[in-house]
Symmetry: C2
């Protein structure tokens, strides 16, 4: 019932429980989602002004990059795979499925899921503010490359399967949008000199602290905002004086205020 | 590795993932645990003075009660079933397994788990500060009644299987320790006029607000504290001027402080 005050939160929970049943998620994925739910509750389950500002800065950096990529893990795929695929279609970015606990079964299930979402998008009209023809939209959606199946490179500084990536994707990108990234991987990507744009609900998590731009927001709301901003097509040059600490401090003060 | 700064938190996570694999938990249980992890992180993952004070008040009320009972749901059983069984042995209280999403499979798995824990306790020495003989300890552990399998009463005001309980247990008790209780059920128990003692990590949750005594603490730490206090055997009369709002306010201020 969409009139329920926590409708979106319950919808997200349902999506994740379904994804868990399909074998898309690692054992710790639902626990991680619960942690996020608590921090989102403290955010008031809405996008703060500073989170929207960070979303816009992330867009500017993605647009300005020579080789941007959108990284998808299990929870991001389940929660926002459809929206992010539409975003990728607008700006012709590749996506790369890149999970921390990599197994062939989970990878394969995530690819199947993304292809289902692609078909779902193709079966619907073009987005409301899409400026071209329906045909162009469909071609754009069909053209979105989804990497991750045949990794041929490694993220330096990481051990085991979690290091695997595509030479043409994450390995050589200059800007990467990594929603819900693990701290170790975020650190490794920053060390590679990439522009790392993280979506994270815990402002004191290692990923949130280490990213170049941190969007402290729930991933579905973030993806919807990203979609709207990309359709407006009004990007600016990246802010060379971007202060990410201010963004994190602001998120913490919103949460502390809601706590009392 | 016990020297890891988040050892206890990771241990708890492992216990729950194992319980989920055994079929002891509902789909939302891991998400609920994750929410708790976030609030516990904000507590600094330690028992606050006010949480310890609430734990002592809960003990005093349980000891003063004519018919106390300890209610166990899936997460509580998985995380603290062993410790709570030892507590029940010290004070000869019955336990009642009482889950929100009741299925025969989950109920049966929870009973098997508790019996495994009972055997584990019986295979070990008596607790360090136990004042009697080993034999007495073993008899006390064997004597702990675990209700829940054959419910013959209903909690008024609740619909469906979640209302089921034992006439001789939850239905007729005058004081109930309900760690991690759902808001609806907590409310229904309070309406029955019982002394409701809740362990909850979110100080603004409905259960936390409605309980007579709220222990804002992680359930494993709570159960260890409860065990120590019961072994000391120094209970006092319940505090007739108990102000539970102060306890909740204190927990919120600890969390807000740790946030900034």
């Amino acid at each position: 019932d969409p009139s329920h005050p926590r409708y979106k939160s319950l919808l997200a929970r349902g999506k994740l429980e379904e994804a868990a049943e399909r074998g898309m998620l690692a054992g710790s994925a639902l626990i991680a989602h619960g942690r996020g739910e608590a921090f989102d509750y403290l955010l008031g389950e809405e996008t703060s002004d500073s989170a929207l500002k960070a979303t816009k800065e992330a867009v500017n950096r993605l647009i300005a990059a020579k080789k941007p990529v959108i990284s998808l893990n299990g929870n991001t795929t389940a929660l926002a795979g459809l929206s992010l695929l539409k975003c990728a279609a607008i700006i012709c970015f590749p996506m790369e499925i890149n999970i921390f606990y990599r197994t062939p079964e989970r990878m394969s299930e995530l690819f199947v899921f993304i292809e289902e979402k692609r078909q779902e998008i193709l079966s619907q009209p073009a987005p409301l503010h899409w400026k071209g023809e329906l045909d162009e939209w469909k071609r754009a959606v069909e053209a979105v490359e989804v990497l991750g199946a045949l990794p041929d490179a490694k993220i330096p500084g990481l051990q085991g399967p979690r290091a695997k990536c595509h030479k043409d994707g994450i390995f050589s990108c200059d800007a990467i949008l990594v929603p819900l990234e693990d701290g170790d991987r975020c650190e490794a990507l920053v060390k590679m000199g990439k522009n790392v744009l993280v979506v994270a609900l815990h402002p004191k998590s290692r990923s949130a602290i280490m990213a170049n731009v941190t969007i402290v927001d729930e991933v579905c709301r973030f993806a919807e905002n990203l979609f709207k901003i990309l359709l407006e097509n009004k990007s600016l040059p990246p802010d060379s004086k971007w202060n990410n600490d201010n963004i994190l401090r602001d998120a913490l003060s919103v949460m502390a205020r809601n706590m009392l």
